[in-house]
Symmetry: D2
Subunit: 146 residues, 4 copies
Protein backbone atom coordinates (compact mmCIF):
# COMPACT_ATOMS: atom_id res chain seq x y z
CA UNK A 1 0.00 0.00 0.00
CA UNK A 2 2.12 2.88 -1.25
CA UNK A 3 1.32 6.08 0.60
CA UNK A 4 0.69 9.14 -1.55
CA UNK A 5 2.14 12.26 0.10
CA UNK A 6 -0.48 14.73 1.32
CA UNK A 7 -1.36 17.75 -0.80
CA UNK A 8 -1.03 21.37 0.26
CA UNK A 9 -3.43 24.32 0.09
CA UNK A 10 -1.88 25.45 -3.19
CA UNK A 11 -3.30 22.30 -4.80
CA UNK A 12 -6.87 23.43 -4.15
CA UNK A 13 -9.06 26.51 -4.47
CA UNK A 14 -12.42 27.85 -3.28
CA UNK A 15 -11.79 27.37 0.44
CA UNK A 16 -14.60 27.17 2.93
CA UNK A 17 -14.33 26.95 6.73
CA UNK A 18 -16.22 23.98 8.13
CA UNK A 19 -16.19 23.90 11.95
CA UNK A 20 -16.38 20.51 13.62
CA UNK A 21 -19.15 19.49 16.03
CA UNK A 22 -18.93 17.67 19.33
CA UNK A 23 -20.69 14.67 17.84
CA UNK A 24 -18.18 14.40 14.96
CA UNK A 25 -15.67 12.76 17.25
CA UNK A 26 -16.09 9.07 17.76
CA UNK A 27 -15.02 6.99 20.70
CA UNK A 28 -11.36 7.34 19.70
CA UNK A 29 -11.58 11.10 20.27
CA UNK A 30 -11.06 11.97 16.62
CA UNK A 31 -13.30 12.74 13.68
CA UNK A 32 -15.11 9.65 12.56
CA UNK A 33 -14.25 8.59 9.00
CA UNK A 34 -17.78 9.14 7.75
CA UNK A 35 -17.64 12.75 8.95
CA UNK A 36 -14.86 13.54 6.48
CA UNK A 37 -17.10 12.35 3.67
CA UNK A 38 -19.89 14.52 4.97
CA UNK A 39 -17.60 17.56 5.00
CA UNK A 40 -16.42 16.78 1.47
CA UNK A 41 -20.06 16.47 0.38
CA UNK A 42 -20.77 19.85 1.96
CA UNK A 43 -17.82 21.56 0.29
CA UNK A 44 -18.92 20.10 -3.04
CA UNK A 45 -22.51 21.27 -2.60
CA UNK A 46 -21.44 24.77 -1.51
CA UNK A 47 -19.17 25.07 -4.51
CA UNK A 48 -21.80 23.88 -6.98
CA UNK A 49 -24.32 26.35 -5.52
CA UNK A 50 -21.70 29.09 -5.72
CA UNK A 51 -21.12 28.32 -9.40
CA UNK A 52 -24.84 28.57 -10.09
CA UNK A 53 -25.26 24.83 -10.59
CA UNK A 54 -28.71 23.89 -9.35
CA UNK A 55 -28.55 20.94 -6.97
CA UNK A 56 -32.27 20.82 -6.16
CA UNK A 57 -35.66 21.04 -7.73
CA UNK A 58 -37.15 19.90 -11.01
CA UNK A 59 -34.71 22.02 -13.06
CA UNK A 60 -31.62 20.54 -11.45
CA UNK A 61 -29.36 18.34 -13.54
CA UNK A 62 -29.11 14.89 -11.99
CA UNK A 63 -25.63 13.77 -10.93
CA UNK A 64 -25.23 10.24 -9.58
CA UNK A 65 -22.31 9.62 -7.27
CA UNK A 66 -20.71 6.43 -8.57
CA UNK A 67 -17.64 6.38 -6.35
CA UNK A 68 -16.23 8.17 -3.34
CA UNK A 69 -12.97 7.81 -1.47
CA UNK A 70 -10.74 9.43 1.07
CA UNK A 71 -7.10 9.15 2.15
CA UNK A 72 -6.25 10.10 5.71
CA UNK A 73 -2.91 11.76 6.49
CA UNK A 74 -3.36 13.25 9.97
CA UNK A 75 -5.92 13.27 12.73
CA UNK A 76 -8.41 16.01 13.45
CA UNK A 77 -11.07 16.43 16.09
CA UNK A 78 -13.55 18.76 17.73
CA UNK A 79 -13.19 21.75 18.17
CA UNK A 80 -10.88 22.00 15.14
CA UNK A 81 -12.05 24.04 12.18
CA UNK A 82 -11.49 22.23 8.90
CA UNK A 83 -10.82 24.26 5.79
CA UNK A 84 -12.05 22.56 2.64
CA UNK A 85 -10.41 23.33 -0.68
CA UNK A 86 -11.74 21.95 -3.95
CA UNK A 87 -10.69 21.16 -7.49
CA UNK A 88 -12.33 19.47 -10.46
CA UNK A 89 -9.72 16.85 -11.27
CA UNK A 90 -11.45 15.24 -14.23
CA UNK A 91 -14.12 16.51 -16.58
CA UNK A 92 -15.31 13.91 -19.09
CA UNK A 93 -18.20 13.67 -21.52
CA UNK A 94 -20.82 12.75 -18.95
CA UNK A 95 -18.79 12.35 -15.77
CA UNK A 96 -16.56 14.44 -13.57
CA UNK A 97 -14.46 13.97 -10.48
CA UNK A 98 -14.28 16.58 -7.74
CA UNK A 99 -11.48 16.37 -5.21
CA UNK A 100 -11.50 18.05 -1.82
CA UNK A 101 -8.60 18.62 0.56
CA UNK A 102 -9.35 19.16 4.25
CA UNK A 103 -6.88 21.25 6.25
CA UNK A 104 -6.96 21.50 10.05
CA UNK A 105 -6.92 25.05 11.42
CA UNK A 106 -3.74 26.73 10.10
CA UNK A 107 -2.10 23.63 8.62
CA UNK A 108 -0.85 23.88 5.05
CA UNK A 109 -0.72 20.10 4.61
CA UNK A 110 -3.99 18.23 4.12
CA UNK A 111 -5.26 16.05 6.96
CA UNK A 112 -7.48 14.22 4.50
CA UNK A 113 -8.11 14.24 0.77
CA UNK A 114 -11.21 12.77 -0.78
CA UNK A 115 -13.20 12.71 -3.97
CA UNK A 116 -16.61 12.17 -5.47
CA UNK A 117 -16.97 10.78 -8.99
CA UNK A 118 -20.30 11.84 -10.43
CA UNK A 119 -22.11 10.96 -13.64
CA UNK A 120 -24.70 13.15 -15.29
CA UNK A 121 -27.79 11.09 -16.10
CA UNK A 122 -30.83 11.88 -18.18
CA UNK A 123 -34.49 11.36 -17.27
CA UNK A 124 -34.11 7.62 -18.03
CA UNK A 125 -31.25 7.26 -15.55
CA UNK A 126 -28.69 6.52 -18.28
CA UNK A 127 -25.45 8.55 -18.56
CA UNK A 128 -25.96 11.64 -20.69
CA UNK A 129 -23.45 14.23 -21.95
CA UNK A 130 -22.99 17.17 -19.59
CA UNK A 131 -24.98 20.22 -20.80
CA UNK A 132 -22.68 22.97 -22.11
CA UNK A 133 -23.51 25.51 -19.42
CA UNK A 134 -22.82 23.00 -16.64
CA UNK A 135 -19.58 21.93 -18.31
CA UNK A 136 -18.52 25.58 -18.44
CA UNK A 137 -19.30 26.05 -14.75
CA UNK A 138 -17.54 22.84 -13.72
CA UNK A 139 -14.46 23.78 -15.72
CA UNK A 140 -13.97 26.78 -13.42
CA UNK A 141 -12.94 24.26 -10.78
CA UNK A 142 -9.97 22.99 -12.77
CA UNK A 143 -6.71 23.72 -10.97
CA UNK A 144 -4.63 26.45 -12.64
CA UNK A 145 -1.44 24.42 -12.52
CA UNK A 146 -2.95 21.24 -13.97
Amino acid sequence: MARVPPGSRADYGFFRALPTRWRDNDEYGHLNNAVYLSLIDTALSLWQLDQGIEIRGPEAARFLVVESGCRFHAEAGFPDVLHAGLRVAHLGTSSFRTEVGLFVNDADTAAAEGFFAQVHVGPDGAPAPLPDDIRARLSRGKPARA
Copy 2:
Protein backbone atom coordinates in the same frame (compact mmCIF):
# COMPACT_ATOMS: atom_id res chain seq x y z
CA MET B 1 -14.23 5.77 -15.63
CA ALA B 2 -14.67 2.04 -16.22
CA ARG B 3 -17.47 0.66 -14.09
CA VAL B 4 -16.67 -2.46 -12.10
CA PRO B 5 -19.68 -4.80 -12.03
CA PRO B 6 -21.28 -5.13 -8.58
CA GLY B 7 -20.45 -8.12 -6.40
CA SER B 8 -22.94 -10.67 -5.10
CA ARG B 9 -23.57 -12.10 -1.64
CA ALA B 10 -21.36 -15.10 -2.44
CA ASP B 11 -18.36 -12.73 -2.55
CA TYR B 12 -18.78 -11.89 1.13
CA GLY B 13 -19.35 -13.58 4.48
CA PHE B 14 -20.36 -12.75 8.07
CA PHE B 15 -23.61 -10.97 7.20
CA ARG B 16 -25.23 -8.54 9.56
CA ALA B 17 -28.60 -6.78 9.14
CA LEU B 18 -28.28 -3.00 9.47
CA PRO B 19 -31.65 -1.24 9.32
CA THR B 20 -31.73 2.28 7.93
CA ARG B 21 -32.96 5.29 9.90
CA TRP B 22 -35.20 8.15 8.81
CA ARG B 23 -32.31 10.59 9.08
CA ASP B 24 -30.09 8.47 6.78
CA ASN B 25 -31.94 9.78 3.75
CA ASP B 26 -30.80 13.12 2.47
CA GLU B 27 -32.76 15.65 0.51
CA TYR B 28 -32.70 13.42 -2.57
CA GLY B 29 -34.71 10.78 -0.71
CA HIS B 30 -31.89 8.24 -0.71
CA LEU B 31 -29.16 7.21 1.72
CA ASN B 32 -26.56 9.94 1.97
CA ASN B 33 -23.11 8.82 0.81
CA ALA B 34 -21.56 9.26 4.23
CA VAL B 35 -24.14 6.87 5.69
CA TYR B 36 -22.77 4.00 3.62
CA LEU B 37 -19.37 4.59 5.15
CA SER B 38 -20.90 4.59 8.60
CA LEU B 39 -22.60 1.25 7.90
CA ILE B 40 -19.34 -0.19 6.58
CA ASP B 41 -17.57 1.05 9.72
CA THR B 42 -20.24 -0.63 11.83
CA ALA B 43 -19.98 -3.95 9.98
CA LEU B 44 -16.21 -3.84 10.39
CA SER B 45 -16.43 -3.10 14.12
CA LEU B 46 -19.03 -5.83 14.71
CA TRP B 47 -16.90 -8.34 12.87
CA GLN B 48 -13.71 -7.43 14.74
CA LEU B 49 -15.58 -7.70 18.08
CA ASP B 50 -16.99 -11.04 16.95
CA GLN B 51 -13.48 -12.32 16.17
CA GLY B 52 -12.29 -11.31 19.64
CA ILE B 53 -10.24 -8.38 18.35
CA GLU B 54 -10.35 -5.67 20.99
CA ILE B 55 -11.29 -2.32 19.48
CA ARG B 56 -11.29 -0.34 22.74
CA GLY B 57 -9.37 0.18 25.89
CA PRO B 58 -5.70 0.22 26.79
CA GLU B 59 -5.16 -3.38 25.58
CA ALA B 60 -6.56 -2.74 22.13
CA ALA B 61 -4.19 -2.84 19.17
CA ARG B 62 -4.24 0.49 17.36
CA PHE B 63 -5.35 0.42 13.73
CA LEU B 64 -5.19 3.67 11.76
CA VAL B 65 -7.52 4.00 8.83
CA VAL B 66 -5.34 5.30 6.00
CA GLU B 67 -7.86 5.08 3.19
CA SER B 68 -11.54 4.43 2.65
CA GLY B 69 -13.65 4.21 -0.45
CA CYS B 70 -17.00 3.15 -1.79
CA ARG B 71 -18.52 2.36 -5.18
CA PHE B 72 -22.26 2.86 -5.61
CA HIS B 73 -24.24 0.53 -7.86
CA ALA B 74 -27.87 1.07 -6.86
CA GLU B 75 -29.89 3.35 -4.64
CA ALA B 76 -31.20 2.51 -1.19
CA GLY B 77 -33.25 4.44 1.31
CA PHE B 78 -35.21 4.35 4.53
CA PRO B 79 -36.89 2.04 5.54
CA ASP B 80 -34.71 -0.48 3.65
CA VAL B 81 -32.68 -2.95 5.68
CA LEU B 82 -29.11 -3.20 4.43
CA HIS B 83 -27.28 -6.49 4.80
CA ALA B 84 -23.56 -6.05 5.23
CA GLY B 85 -21.19 -8.83 4.17
CA LEU B 86 -17.46 -8.64 4.82
CA ARG B 87 -14.15 -10.03 3.59
CA VAL B 88 -10.51 -9.34 4.39
CA ALA B 89 -9.20 -8.70 0.90
CA HIS B 90 -5.58 -8.03 1.78
CA LEU B 91 -3.50 -9.01 4.80
CA GLY B 92 0.02 -7.57 4.75
CA THR B 93 2.82 -7.27 7.29
CA SER B 94 1.36 -4.34 9.15
CA SER B 95 -1.67 -3.41 7.10
CA PHE B 96 -4.91 -5.00 5.98
CA ARG B 97 -7.86 -4.11 3.82
CA THR B 98 -11.40 -5.02 4.76
CA GLU B 99 -14.11 -4.88 2.11
CA VAL B 100 -17.82 -4.69 2.82
CA GLY B 101 -20.71 -5.25 0.43
CA LEU B 102 -24.10 -3.73 1.26
CA PHE B 103 -27.19 -5.50 -0.07
CA VAL B 104 -30.67 -3.96 0.03
CA ASN B 105 -33.36 -6.18 1.55
CA ASP B 106 -33.43 -9.41 -0.51
CA ALA B 107 -31.15 -8.28 -3.32
CA ASP B 108 -28.27 -10.59 -4.25
CA THR B 109 -26.37 -7.84 -6.04
CA ALA B 110 -24.58 -5.23 -3.95
CA ALA B 111 -26.00 -1.70 -3.85
CA ALA B 112 -22.64 -0.45 -2.63
CA GLU B 113 -19.19 -1.88 -1.99
CA GLY B 114 -16.64 -0.15 0.17
CA PHE B 115 -13.40 -0.70 2.00
CA PHE B 116 -11.21 0.45 4.83
CA ALA B 117 -7.43 0.13 4.60
CA GLN B 118 -5.96 0.00 8.09
CA VAL B 119 -2.41 0.01 9.39
CA HIS B 120 -1.37 -1.41 12.72
CA VAL B 121 0.75 1.13 14.59
CA GLY B 122 2.85 0.83 17.72
CA PRO B 123 2.91 3.16 20.72
CA ASP B 124 5.05 5.61 18.74
CA GLY B 125 2.46 5.83 15.97
CA ALA B 126 4.74 4.15 13.40
CA PRO B 127 3.58 1.10 11.41
CA ALA B 128 4.31 -2.12 13.29
CA PRO B 129 3.91 -5.77 12.24
CA LEU B 130 0.51 -7.24 13.08
CA PRO B 131 0.72 -9.38 16.24
CA ASP B 132 0.36 -13.10 15.47
CA ASP B 133 -2.94 -13.57 17.27
CA ILE B 134 -4.52 -10.62 15.48
CA ARG B 135 -3.18 -11.84 12.14
CA ALA B 136 -4.76 -15.23 12.83
CA ARG B 137 -8.10 -13.65 13.66
CA LEU B 138 -8.02 -11.34 10.63
CA SER B 139 -7.19 -14.24 8.34
CA ARG B 140 -10.56 -15.80 9.18
CA GLY B 141 -12.08 -13.03 7.07
CA LYS B 142 -10.34 -14.13 3.90
CA PRO B 143 -12.84 -15.21 1.26
CA ALA B 144 -12.85 -18.99 0.65
CA ARG B 145 -12.76 -18.64 -3.09
CA ALA B 146 -9.91 -16.13 -3.19
Copy 3:
Protein backbone atom coordinates in the same frame (compact mmCIF):
# COMPACT_ATOMS: atom_id res chain seq x y z
CA MET C 1 -35.35 18.99 38.95
CA ALA C 2 -37.61 16.15 40.10
CA ARG C 3 -36.64 12.92 38.37
CA VAL C 4 -39.49 10.96 36.83
CA PRO C 5 -38.96 7.21 37.28
CA PRO C 6 -38.24 5.37 34.03
CA GLY C 7 -41.05 3.53 32.26
CA SER C 8 -41.14 -0.17 31.46
CA ARG C 9 -41.89 -2.10 28.27
CA ALA C 10 -45.52 -2.54 29.37
CA ASP C 11 -45.98 1.21 28.96
CA TYR C 12 -45.32 1.00 25.23
CA GLY C 13 -46.28 -1.05 22.19
CA PHE C 14 -45.20 -1.67 18.60
CA PHE C 15 -41.59 -2.56 19.39
CA ARG C 16 -38.85 -2.33 16.80
CA ALA C 17 -35.20 -3.40 17.17
CA LEU C 18 -32.80 -0.57 16.29
CA PRO C 19 -29.16 -1.68 16.38
CA THR C 20 -26.57 0.93 17.26
CA ARG C 21 -23.71 1.90 14.97
CA TRP C 22 -20.05 2.49 15.77
CA ARG C 23 -20.42 6.19 14.99
CA ASP C 24 -23.34 6.59 17.44
CA ASN C 25 -20.93 6.64 20.36
CA ASP C 26 -19.35 9.95 21.10
CA GLU C 27 -16.06 10.62 22.79
CA TYR C 28 -17.49 9.53 26.15
CA GLY C 29 -18.01 6.02 24.80
CA HIS C 30 -21.80 6.20 24.98
CA LEU C 31 -24.59 7.06 22.57
CA ASN C 32 -24.57 10.75 21.80
CA ASN C 33 -27.75 12.55 22.90
CA ALA C 34 -28.73 13.45 19.36
CA VAL C 35 -28.63 9.77 18.40
CA TYR C 36 -31.50 9.00 20.76
CA LEU C 37 -33.60 11.60 18.97
CA SER C 38 -32.69 10.03 15.66
CA LEU C 39 -33.80 6.60 16.91
CA ILE C 40 -37.06 8.06 18.25
CA ASP C 41 -37.62 9.72 14.86
CA THR C 42 -37.01 6.38 13.16
CA ALA C 43 -39.42 4.49 15.45
CA LEU C 44 -42.06 7.14 14.80
CA SER C 45 -41.58 6.99 11.02
CA LEU C 46 -41.66 3.17 10.98
CA TRP C 47 -44.86 3.16 13.02
CA GLN C 48 -46.58 5.76 10.84
CA LEU C 49 -45.63 3.81 7.71
CA ASP C 50 -46.91 0.63 9.37
CA GLN C 51 -50.24 2.30 10.11
CA GLY C 52 -50.59 3.35 6.50
CA ILE C 53 -49.93 7.01 7.22
CA GLU C 54 -48.12 8.48 4.24
CA ILE C 55 -45.01 10.38 5.31
CA ARG C 56 -43.82 11.30 1.83
CA GLY C 57 -44.98 12.58 -1.48
CA PRO C 58 -47.64 15.00 -2.62
CA GLU C 59 -50.47 13.02 -0.96
CA ALA C 60 -48.84 13.01 2.48
CA ALA C 61 -50.43 15.01 5.28
CA ARG C 62 -47.99 17.59 6.60
CA PHE C 63 -47.03 17.27 10.26
CA LEU C 64 -44.75 19.94 11.74
CA VAL C 65 -42.67 18.94 14.74
CA VAL C 66 -43.17 21.78 17.23
CA GLU C 67 -41.36 20.26 20.19
CA SER C 68 -39.17 17.30 21.02
CA GLY C 69 -37.65 16.10 24.25
CA CYS C 70 -35.90 13.19 25.91
CA ARG C 71 -35.18 12.07 29.44
CA PHE C 72 -32.14 9.86 30.01
CA HIS C 73 -32.21 7.16 32.67
CA ALA C 74 -29.31 4.87 31.84
CA GLU C 75 -26.41 4.75 29.43
CA ALA C 76 -26.25 2.75 26.22
CA GLY C 77 -23.59 2.32 23.61
CA PHE C 78 -22.45 0.43 20.54
CA PRO C 79 -22.93 -2.52 19.98
CA ASP C 80 -26.13 -2.49 22.06
CA VAL C 81 -29.41 -3.09 20.28
CA LEU C 82 -32.06 -0.60 21.34
CA HIS C 83 -35.68 -1.67 21.33
CA ALA C 84 -38.06 1.20 20.64
CA GLY C 85 -41.63 1.04 21.94
CA LEU C 86 -44.19 3.69 21.04
CA ARG C 87 -47.45 5.20 22.26
CA VAL C 88 -49.60 8.11 21.17
CA ALA C 89 -49.90 9.99 24.46
CA HIS C 90 -52.06 12.85 23.26
CA LEU C 91 -54.40 13.19 20.31
CA GLY C 92 -55.92 16.66 19.96
CA THR C 93 -57.84 18.46 17.24
CA SER C 94 -54.87 19.26 15.07
CA SER C 95 -51.94 18.08 17.15
CA PHE C 96 -50.67 14.85 18.65
CA ARG C 97 -47.81 13.73 20.83
CA THR C 98 -45.98 10.47 20.25
CA GLU C 99 -43.79 9.06 23.01
CA VAL C 100 -41.06 6.49 22.50
CA GLY C 101 -39.25 4.40 25.11
CA LEU C 102 -35.82 2.99 24.28
CA PHE C 103 -34.78 -0.22 25.99
CA VAL C 104 -31.23 -1.59 25.88
CA ASN C 105 -30.95 -5.26 24.85
CA ASP C 106 -33.04 -7.28 27.36
CA ALA C 107 -33.72 -4.49 29.85
CA ASP C 108 -37.32 -3.97 30.92
CA THR C 109 -36.66 -0.46 32.20
CA ALA C 110 -36.23 2.33 29.66
CA ALA C 111 -32.76 3.80 29.15
CA ALA C 112 -34.35 6.87 27.57
CA GLU C 113 -37.84 8.17 26.92
CA GLY C 114 -38.57 10.88 24.41
CA PHE C 115 -41.39 12.49 22.50
CA PHE C 116 -42.31 14.43 19.40
CA ALA C 117 -45.22 16.88 19.44
CA GLN C 118 -46.54 17.32 15.94
CA VAL C 119 -49.15 19.63 14.45
CA HIS C 120 -51.08 18.91 11.29
CA VAL C 121 -50.92 21.90 8.96
CA GLY C 122 -52.82 22.73 5.79
CA PRO C 123 -51.40 23.95 2.49
CA ASP C 124 -51.11 27.47 3.98
CA GLY C 125 -48.96 26.22 6.85
CA ALA C 126 -51.61 26.98 9.50
CA PRO C 127 -52.80 24.30 11.96
CA ALA C 128 -55.68 22.29 10.50
CA PRO C 129 -57.86 19.59 12.07
CA LEU C 130 -56.52 16.08 11.63
CA PRO C 131 -58.33 14.27 8.79
CA ASP C 132 -60.62 11.52 10.11
CA ASP C 133 -58.71 8.63 8.58
CA ILE C 134 -55.41 9.84 10.04
CA ARG C 135 -57.04 10.40 13.43
CA ALA C 136 -58.32 6.82 13.32
CA ARG C 137 -54.88 5.47 12.47
CA LEU C 138 -53.13 7.56 15.14
CA SER C 139 -55.62 6.44 17.77
CA ARG C 140 -54.36 2.87 17.34
CA GLY C 141 -51.23 4.03 19.14
CA LYS C 142 -53.05 4.92 22.33
CA PRO C 143 -51.85 2.77 25.22
CA ALA C 144 -54.42 0.18 26.35
CA ARG C 145 -54.04 1.03 30.00
CA ALA C 146 -54.35 4.81 29.59
Copy 4:
Protein backbone atom coordinates in the same frame (compact mmCIF):
# COMPACT_ATOMS: atom_id res chain seq x y z
CA MET D 1 -50.34 22.64 23.59
CA ALA D 2 -49.76 26.33 24.31
CA ARG D 3 -47.08 27.74 22.06
CA VAL D 4 -44.37 29.73 23.79
CA PRO D 5 -43.31 32.70 21.65
CA PRO D 6 -39.78 32.42 20.26
CA GLY D 7 -36.93 34.23 22.00
CA SER D 8 -34.70 36.85 20.42
CA ARG D 9 -30.91 37.27 20.30
CA ALA D 10 -31.03 39.61 23.31
CA ASP D 11 -32.14 36.62 25.42
CA TYR D 12 -28.83 34.83 24.81
CA GLY D 13 -25.10 35.50 24.83
CA PHE D 14 -21.83 33.92 23.66
CA PHE D 15 -22.83 33.54 20.02
CA ARG D 16 -21.11 31.08 17.73
CA ALA D 17 -21.67 30.58 13.99
CA LEU D 18 -22.49 26.97 13.13
CA PRO D 19 -22.78 26.39 9.37
CA THR D 20 -25.11 23.65 8.21
CA ARG D 21 -23.98 20.67 6.12
CA TRP D 22 -25.61 19.08 3.10
CA ARG D 23 -26.35 15.94 5.09
CA ASP D 24 -28.18 17.91 7.84
CA ASN D 25 -31.24 18.20 5.64
CA ASP D 26 -33.54 15.24 5.71
CA GLU D 27 -35.93 14.11 3.02
CA TYR D 28 -38.23 17.07 3.74
CA GLY D 29 -35.48 19.46 2.66
CA HIS D 30 -35.05 20.96 6.12
CA LEU D 31 -32.72 20.35 9.05
CA ASN D 32 -33.55 17.06 10.71
CA ASN D 33 -34.68 17.42 14.32
CA ALA D 34 -31.70 15.52 15.69
CA VAL D 35 -29.36 17.97 13.99
CA TYR D 36 -30.64 20.83 16.14
CA LEU D 37 -29.71 18.82 19.23
CA SER D 38 -26.27 18.22 17.80
CA LEU D 39 -25.80 21.95 17.21
CA ILE D 40 -26.98 22.72 20.75
CA ASP D 41 -24.54 20.11 22.06
CA THR D 42 -21.76 21.77 20.08
CA ALA D 43 -22.59 25.28 21.32
CA LEU D 44 -22.61 23.95 24.88
CA SER D 45 -19.26 22.20 24.48
CA LEU D 46 -17.64 25.24 22.84
CA TRP D 47 -18.88 27.47 25.65
CA GLN D 48 -17.69 25.13 28.39
CA LEU D 49 -14.25 24.89 26.75
CA ASP D 50 -14.21 28.69 26.42
CA GLN D 51 -14.95 29.05 30.13
CA GLY D 52 -12.07 26.74 30.99
CA ILE D 53 -14.36 23.88 32.03
CA GLU D 54 -12.61 20.64 31.11
CA ILE D 55 -14.92 18.34 29.16
CA ARG D 56 -12.39 15.56 28.60
CA GLY D 57 -9.73 13.55 30.27
CA PRO D 58 -9.25 12.18 33.76
CA GLU D 59 -9.40 15.67 35.38
CA ALA D 60 -12.76 16.54 33.83
CA ALA D 61 -15.79 16.85 36.08
CA ARG D 62 -18.48 14.40 35.02
CA PHE D 63 -21.79 15.90 33.93
CA LEU D 64 -24.63 13.52 33.07
CA VAL D 65 -27.29 14.79 30.71
CA VAL D 66 -30.58 13.86 32.36
CA GLU D 67 -32.92 15.66 30.00
CA SER D 68 -32.87 17.49 26.70
CA GLY D 69 -35.54 19.26 24.73
CA CYS D 70 -36.15 21.59 21.84
CA ARG D 71 -38.99 23.79 20.60
CA PHE D 72 -39.16 24.55 16.90
CA HIS D 73 -40.42 27.92 15.70
CA ALA D 74 -39.26 28.18 12.10
CA GLU D 75 -37.57 26.02 9.50
CA ALA D 76 -33.93 26.09 8.56
CA GLY D 77 -31.88 24.16 6.03
CA PHE D 78 -28.59 23.83 4.22
CA PRO D 79 -26.79 26.11 3.34
CA ASP D 80 -28.08 28.33 6.17
CA VAL D 81 -25.64 29.36 8.88
CA LEU D 82 -27.13 28.94 12.34
CA HIS D 83 -26.01 31.28 15.10
CA ALA D 84 -26.14 29.65 18.52
CA GLY D 85 -26.59 31.82 21.62
CA LEU D 86 -26.40 30.38 25.09
CA ARG D 87 -27.52 31.07 28.67
CA VAL D 88 -27.34 29.12 31.92
CA ALA D 89 -30.99 29.23 32.94
CA HIS D 90 -30.69 27.29 36.19
CA LEU D 91 -27.77 26.65 38.49
CA GLY D 92 -28.58 24.36 41.42
CA THR D 93 -26.54 22.49 43.99
CA SER D 94 -25.47 19.66 41.74
CA SER D 95 -27.39 20.35 38.53
CA PHE D 96 -27.65 23.06 35.92
CA ARG D 97 -29.65 23.79 32.83
CA THR D 98 -28.14 25.36 29.75
CA GLU D 99 -30.42 26.82 27.10
CA VAL D 100 -29.42 27.51 23.52
CA GLY D 101 -31.22 29.60 20.92
CA LEU D 102 -30.53 28.94 17.24
CA PHE D 103 -30.95 31.84 14.83
CA VAL D 104 -30.94 31.42 11.04
CA ASN D 105 -28.57 33.75 9.18
CA ASP D 106 -29.60 37.33 10.08
CA ALA D 107 -32.84 36.52 11.88
CA ASP D 108 -33.34 38.07 15.32
CA THR D 109 -36.05 35.58 16.27
CA ALA D 110 -35.00 32.05 17.20
CA ALA D 111 -35.77 29.23 14.76
CA ALA D 112 -35.33 26.73 17.58
CA GLU D 113 -34.65 26.85 21.31
CA GLY D 114 -33.38 23.87 23.23
CA PHE D 115 -31.82 22.88 26.50
CA PHE D 116 -29.67 20.32 28.25
CA ALA D 117 -30.20 19.59 31.96
CA GLN D 118 -26.98 18.19 33.41
CA VAL D 119 -26.12 16.76 36.80
CA HIS D 120 -22.64 16.72 38.27
CA VAL D 121 -21.82 13.23 39.53
CA GLY D 122 -18.98 11.92 41.66
CA PRO D 123 -16.79 8.88 41.00
CA ASP D 124 -19.62 6.64 42.29
CA GLY D 125 -22.06 8.05 39.74
CA ALA D 126 -24.25 9.71 42.40
CA PRO D 127 -25.14 13.43 42.20
CA ALA D 128 -22.49 15.55 43.91
CA PRO D 129 -22.38 19.29 44.62
CA LEU D 130 -20.79 21.33 41.86
CA PRO D 131 -17.18 22.25 42.74
CA ASP D 132 -16.83 25.96 43.52
CA ASP D 133 -14.62 26.79 40.56
CA ILE D 134 -17.02 25.13 38.13
CA ARG D 135 -19.98 26.88 39.75
CA ALA D 136 -18.18 30.19 39.30
CA ARG D 137 -17.52 29.46 35.64
CA LEU D 138 -21.07 28.29 34.96
CA SER D 139 -22.51 31.39 36.63
CA ARG D 140 -20.90 33.51 33.92
CA GLY D 141 -23.55 32.12 31.59
CA LYS D 142 -26.44 33.58 33.56
CA PRO D 143 -28.37 36.10 31.48
CA ALA D 144 -27.86 39.70 32.60
CA ARG D 145 -31.54 40.51 32.57
CA ALA D 146 -32.66 37.44 34.53
